[in-house]
C-alpha cells in the first residue's frame, strides 16, 4: 500500500497514546523540584486592600510566597491590535502576572505559594489573608456597555471599536432593498476543555543564567519570544521552551499565561525547579474561553431574492484582561468572513470589544469564523423562509459562481479558488434531501417533529500571510519553518515549528516526505515542540500546520532533491539537468544509468567521490514559507433532527458533511478532524454554555454542570470531500482542523427551527437545551392559541 500523499496511513503516534505512554509536562520531574499553588480570587471584581502572607510563609514545607508586589517583570502581552473607528488605538490595559491592587475575574491569580509538596502549598495558601473591597461584577455585554469601569481610564469600558467595509454603500443597499431580513443572535461562551490541563515545569540554570520551561504549548517558540523579549527582557537565547506531548489545545494553549511565567520567574528566585499543573477547576476558571458575541444582523435582498447588502453590528465580551489574540478573533477572523460563500456587493461591520469581570476570551477552534458563519447561515436561513424559497436553493442562487474566482469580497479577502455547488449537491445527495418531506410526515405519525438544516461555510485558514496580517494589526509573522535532515543511511529527520497536540503531524508530515523522496514512512522521524531542537516556528493554530508548515517541509524537500540531483549527476557522470528523480531513484534520461537515494545520502556524508569544489558535503536543508494568501476551505453540512415536543429533546438522526479542503494528504486523519470538529460544534449548539451568575461566579465550573458532548450525544457522521486545490501553495492543501466546528452549529440550529417551523417557531438560541426547545414550543403554542 502506498504511504505517500493521499493514503490513509494509520497514525504513527497512536501506539504510545493508546497505551498510556505519552510523555506530558506533568510526567516530567526534575531533581529538587518544588510545587506551586496559586491563590485565586474568589470574587469577580474587587480592590485588594491588603494581603498578609506571614502565616503562609511560615507554614510547613513552604519555600516562598509571592504576590503582585514582588513581581518585577511584565505580564502577558497583546499580540494583535486594531485601530478604532475614530483613529485611536486599541486600549491595552496592563495584565500583571499576579494581581496588583485589583482583581478582575474569579480565578485571577492573587498569590503563589511554593512548597515542597503540592498539599503543603495548598494548605499554606489557605493561610494567606486577602482583604477585598468588592466592586460590582460585570458579567454580560449589556452591563459591560452601560458605563462599567474595570480598567482605570479605559473609556466606555471598551478595548476597541473597529469597523470594516463600506457603511454608506451597505446602508444604501438596506434602504433600497425589497426586503431586509433582521436577526439578533448570541454566540454562547464556551470553555475549551482540552483533555490535558495546562501545566508548567520551570528550571533555572545558575551556571548559565538560563531557563528551561516545559509547558503545554501549541507554539513553544512564541512562548519563548514573549517570555524573553516582552516579560523578562532577557536574551531570547537564555530561555528554552519545550512543549512535549500535549493533550489537545483548541486555541487555549497558544498564549503565555501568568502561571507559566510566574513559575519561570520564581525558579530563578528560589533556584529550584517549580512544577504547576492545573486541576480541572483551574482549567475552567483560567483557560481563555471562546466565543461570547452578540450580533445584530441585517440582510438586504432585491426582488429576485439576490443578496445586495449585509450589515453586522457585533458586541464581543473579552473578559477581565485582553488575551494575546483576543482582538483578532472578533475582527479580522470574523469581519473578513462575513461574505461567506455568497456574492454580496456591499458589507459593513462594526465590532465593539468590551471588558467584563469574567475569564479572558480568546481563540477557540475556529476563532471568529464560527461566529461569522453562525450569524450568516442563520440569517440566510431566515431569509429563505421569509421569501418562501427552499433553503438549499436560496443558497445556490446567491453562491459566488464558479467562474468568478479569484473573487474579491467586500470585506478585504480575495478567495483564490472554489466551487460551492458540487459540495452542496453532494451533501444533499448524501442525506437524501429530496425525500425529506416523506421522512418528516413519517416522524409526525410517531409524535416527533423532524427537521433538516443546511449550513454552507467558508473559512480563511493557513494563518497567515505575514504582510497581510501585519497590515491588519498582527504583531507576529505568519510563516512556518521546516528543516529536513537526511542521515548518512538515508533515513530522514524533519524538524518543524508546527506543534502536534492531536493533529497527527508525525504521520501526515512523513507522508509528504515519502511522496517526495520515495523513502518509507518508517524512515521518517518528526521533531517538534522544542525551541532548542527546531528552527524558529510559529506553532499550530488556525488550521495552519499543513497549509503553512507542511508546505515549508515540501520546500525543504525540494531543496534536498535539488542538491541530491547534483550529487547523483556526479556519481553517474552526467549533467544535473539530465538527472530525473522518481520513487527514490535518480536516472539519467536516455540512458540506463540509475542510483538510489540512499547512495546519494551516503555520498553526501562520505564524500570520497564528490564534487567538493562546487558542492558542500552533507544533506540537510531548511526552508521558511510565508503564504501569499489565506487558504479557503469551504463546504456544506446538513443536519437532520427529530424533536420530542413533550420534553424538548433533540435527537440528531443524520449528518452529512461535504468539505472542500483541497488536496488531502491523509484522508483518514482529515475525516477524524471533521468528526472532532462537528462534535465540538454540536457541543456548542446543544450542550455547552459557560454560565456566570450575577456575582460573576462561574456556575458551570465542572463536568457536573458544564455539558461536554459524549459519544451517545452524536450520530454517525457521513463525511465526503470535493476538491478545488489551493492555487498558491505547492501542495494544493487548505487545512481541515476547524471546519467541523465552524459548519456544524448553524446546521443544527437551522434543523431545529426547520423541525418546529410548522408550530410557528422561527428562532432558537444556543445551546438548544431540552428546556430551551420545550419553552420555544410552549411559547409558539401559546401565541397560536391567542
Amino acid at each position: 500500500m502506498s504511504e505517500g500523499i493521499g493514503a490513509s496511513v494509520k497514525r504513527k503516534e497512536d501506539r504510545k497514546f493508546l497505551t498510556g505512554k505519552g510523555r506530558y509536562t506533568d510526567d516530567i520531574n526534575r531533581p529538587g523540584q518544588v510545587h506551586a499553588h496559586f491563590l485565586r480570587s474568589d470574587v469577580a471584581h474587587a480592590n485588594i486592600k491588603s494581603i498578609n502572607t506571614k502565616a503562609a510563609s511560615a507554614a510547613a514545607g513552604v519555600v516562598a510566597v509571592y504576590t503582585g508586589e514582588d513581581i518585577d517583570v511584565g505580564g502577558p502581552i497583546c499580540g494583535w491590535v486594531v485601530p478604532n473607528r475614530d483613529g485611536s488605538a486599541t486600549h491595552e490595559p496592563p495584565h500583571p502576572l499576579l494581581a496588583k491592587g485589583k482583581v478582575r475575574f474569579v480565578g485571577d491569580a492573587v498569590a503563589v505559594v511554593i512548597a515542597e509538596s503540592l498539599q503543603q502549598a495548598k494548605s499554606a495558601s489557605e493561610l494567606v489573608e486577602v482583604e477585598y473591597e468588592e466592586l460590582p461584577a460585570v458579567v454580560d455585554l449589556e452591563t459591560a456597555s452601560a458605563g462599567a469601569e474595570i480598567h482605570e481610564g479605559m473609556a466606555e469600558n471598551r478595548y476597541f471599536d473597529w469597523e470594516l467595509g463600506d457603511e454608506e454603500a451597505t446602508d444604501k443597499a438596506l434602504k433600497s432593498a425589497s426586503r431586509v431580513v433582521k436577526l439578533t443572535v448570541r454566540n454562547n461562551r464556551l470553555v475549551p476543555n482540552p483533555m490535558e490541563p495546562r501545566a508548567a515545569l520551570a528550571e533555572y540554570d545558575d551556571l548559565n543564567d538560563s531557563y528551561t520551561l516545559y509547558t503545554t504549548s501549541q507554539s513553544p517558540h512564541l512562548t519563548r519570544l514573549v517570555l524573553a523579549a516582552f516579560m523578562f527582557q532577557i536574551p531570547e537565547s537564555k530561555i528554552r521552551v519545550v512543549a512535549p506531548d500535549v493533550g489537545g489545545g483548541f486555541g487555549a494553549k497558544i498564549y503565555v499565561y501568568v502561571e507559566e511565567a510566574v513559575c519561570t520567574w520564581a525558579s530563578k528566585k528560589i533556584k529550584r525547579p517549580i512544577k504547576w499543573t492545573a486541576d480541572r477547576t483551574q482549567a475552567f476558571l483560567t483557560d481563555a474561553h471562546g466565543r461570547d458575541h452578540i450580533n445584530n444582523v441585517q440582510l438586504a435582498l432585491d426582488s429576485n431574492n439576490k443578496i445586495i447588502g449585509l450589515r453586522v453590528d457585533t458586541l464581543a465580551n473579552l473578559g477581565g484582561y485582553l488575551s494575546a489574540f483576543a482582538v483578532a478573533v472578533p475582527t479580522y477572523l470574523h469581519g473578513t468572513l462575513l461574505s461567506g460563500l455568497y456574492d454580496i456587493p456591499a458589507i459593513y461591520t462594526n465590532v465593539k470589544g468590551y471588558a467584563t469581570t469574567t475569564t479572558p476570551v480568546d481563540a477557540y477552534r475556529g476563532a471568529g469564523r464560527p461566529e461569522a458563519t453562525y450569524l450568516l447561515e442563520r440569517v440566510i436561513d431566515q431569509a429563505a423562509r421569509e421569501v418562501g424559497m427552499d433553503q438549499a436553493e436560496f443558497r445556490r442562487l446567491n453562491f459566488i459562481p464558479k467562474d468568478a474566482f479569484p473573487y474579491q469580497t467586500a470585506v478585504a479577502l480575495q478567495y483564490d479558488t472554489g466551487d460551492y455547488e458540487p459540495a452542496l449537491d453532494k451533501a444533499m445527495e448524501m442525506i437524501d434531501y429530496k425525500n425529506f418531506e416523506s421522512r418528516r410526515s413519517e416522524a409526525s405519525k410517531r409524535g416527533k417533529y423532524r427537521g433538516i438544516g443546511v449550513s454552507s461555510y467558508i473559512e480563511a485558514c493557513g494563518i497567515a500571510p505575514s504582510a497581510v496580517a501585519g497590515a491588519l494589526g498582527g504583531r507576529v509573522g505568519g510563516w512556518e519553518s521546516a528543516s529536513v535532515r537526511v542521515d548518512p543511511t538515508g533515513t530522514i529527520t524533519v524538524t518543524t515549528g508546527a506543534h502536534s497536540h492531536g493533529q497527527g503531524h508525525a504521520t501526515t508530515f512523513a507522508q509528504i516526505v515519502t511522496e517526495k523522496l520515495g523513502v518509507p514512512n518508517s524512515s521518517v522521524e518528526l521533531v517538534h515542540g522544542d525551541s532548542d531542537r527546531s528552527p524558529f516556528g510559529m506553532g499550530t493554530y488556525g488550521s495552519r500546520s499543513l497549509a503553512v508548515g507542511g508546505v515549508a517541509i515540501s520546500k525543504a524537500l525540494d531543496k534536498v532533491i535539488e542538491k541530491s540531483k547534483k550529487i547523483a549527476a556526479h556519481l553517474m557522470e552526467a549533467s544535473a539537468d539530465d538527472v530525473e528523480f522518481k520513487e527514490g531513484k535518480f536516472t539519467v534520461s536516455g540512458t540506463d544509468k540509475e542510483t538510489a537515494f540512499g547512495e546519494v545520502a551516503l555520498a553526501a556524508y562520505v564524500p570520497h567521490n564528490y564534487p567538493l569544489e562546487t558542492l558542500e558535503p552533507g544533506l540537510e536543508e531548511t526552508a521558511f514559507y510565508d503564504p501569499m494568501n489565506f487558504t479557503y476551505p469551504a463546504g456544506t453540512h446538513i443536519a437532520e433532527v427529530e424533536v420530542d415536543p413533550t420534553t424538548g429533546v433533540v435527537e440528531i438522526v443524520d449528518w452529512a458533511a461535504c468539505d472542500d479542503f483541497g488536496n488531502l494528504i491523509n484522508p483518514m486523519i482529515v475525516e477524524g478532524q471533521v468528526h472532532g470538529g462537528i462534535a465540538q460544534g454540536i457541543g456548542q449548539a446543544l450542550l455547552e454554555n459557560a454560565h456566570y451568575d450575577e456575582n460573576g461566579q462561574l456556575l458551570t465550573a465542572s463536568y457536573m454542570d458544564y455539558c461536554m458532548p459524549r459519544a451517545d450525544d452524536l450520530p454517525s457522521f457521513k463525511v465526503e470531500c470535493t476538491n478545488t486545490p489551493c492555487t498558491h501553495n505547492d501542495l494544493g492543501v487548505k487545512g481541515c482542523g476547524e471546519a467541523g466546528a465552524i459548519a456544524s452549529p448553524p446546521a443544527l440550529i437551522n434543523a431545529i427551527i426547520n423541525a418546529l417551523s410548522p408550530l410557528g417557531v422561527s428562532d432558537m438560541s444556543m445551546p438548544a437545551t431540552p428546556e430551551t426547545v420545550w419553552r420555544a414550543i410552549q411559547n409558539a403554542q401559546a401565541r397560536a392559541a391567542e
Binding site: 458551570t700 463536568y703 457536573m704 454542570d705 458544564y706 461536554m708 450525544d713 428546556e771 420545550w774
Partner: protein, 262 residues
Amino acid sequence: MYSTKIVKAENSSAAVQAIGSSKEGKILAGGMTLIPTLKQRLANPDCLIDISGCGLEGVEDKGSSVRIGAMTKHAAVAESSLVAKAIPALADLAGGIGDRQVRNRGTLGGSVANNDPAACYPSAVMALDGTVHTNKRDISADDFFKGMFETALEEDEVIEAVSFKKPEKACYMKFPNPASRYAMVGVFVAKFSDGVRVAVTGAGEEGVFRHSDLESALSSNFSEEAVSGVEVSSDGLMSDIHASADYRANLIGEMTKRAVSS
C-alpha cells in the same frame, strides 16, 4: 485533600464506636460523593471509617420483599437475577446510575444515607414502601428522608440494609441532567394491590417526595390518561441553571406517563 486517617471497621457496631471516638468521623461507603468532596477540600474529617469489611453486602429474597445489604454495589443490584425477577425496575434503576466505574464502587447504603436530591435510589426506597434497617432500628421510607441531604439517621447509626416491597408492577423513568447524568427528574411508579406509589427525585426543593395527586389518580385508573388529568404543580420544585421549576413539573408528568405505559 487534607490528611486524615482511615479506620477499617469489622462490623457496624465497631463502625459506630469509631465514630464516637472521633471528633468528626465520616463513614466511607463507596466514596462516590465523599471522596470528590475531600479532594476539593470541602470537608475535613479527622477520621474515615471504612465499612467495606462489615459484611453488609448481598441480596436476599424475603418473600414479600427484597432485602439488599447497604454495601451492595449498584452493579451487583443491576446484575442480580433475584432483583431482576422480583423487582426488575430496581435492577434497571441501579444499572442506570452514573457510569460503569461509579456502579462498581457506589453503594445502595451510601446513596440512601447521602440523600442527594438528584440521586436515583431514594425514589425506589420511597415508591417501593421501603424500610431502612440500621444497627439500632427499622425506619420506614416515609420517615427516613427528611429533606435535601437530610435523613432520620442519628450520629451513632449506620445503615445495614434496605428492604423493598415487591410490587405488582413498577418502572423508573429518569430524565438525566445532560452534564452530570444525575436525575433532573426521576419518577418511580410502583403498583401494589392496595394502590399506587409515585416517588419523584431530582425535582423537589426538599429532595425526594411522593406525589399524592399522581398516586390517587393512578390508584383509581392506572393509565397515561389518568396522568394527563393531573395538573402537576411547580410549587416546591427546584429552579436552577439546568431546568426551571415549570419545566421540571412538565417532566414529572411526562416521565410518569412513560413509566405507566412501559
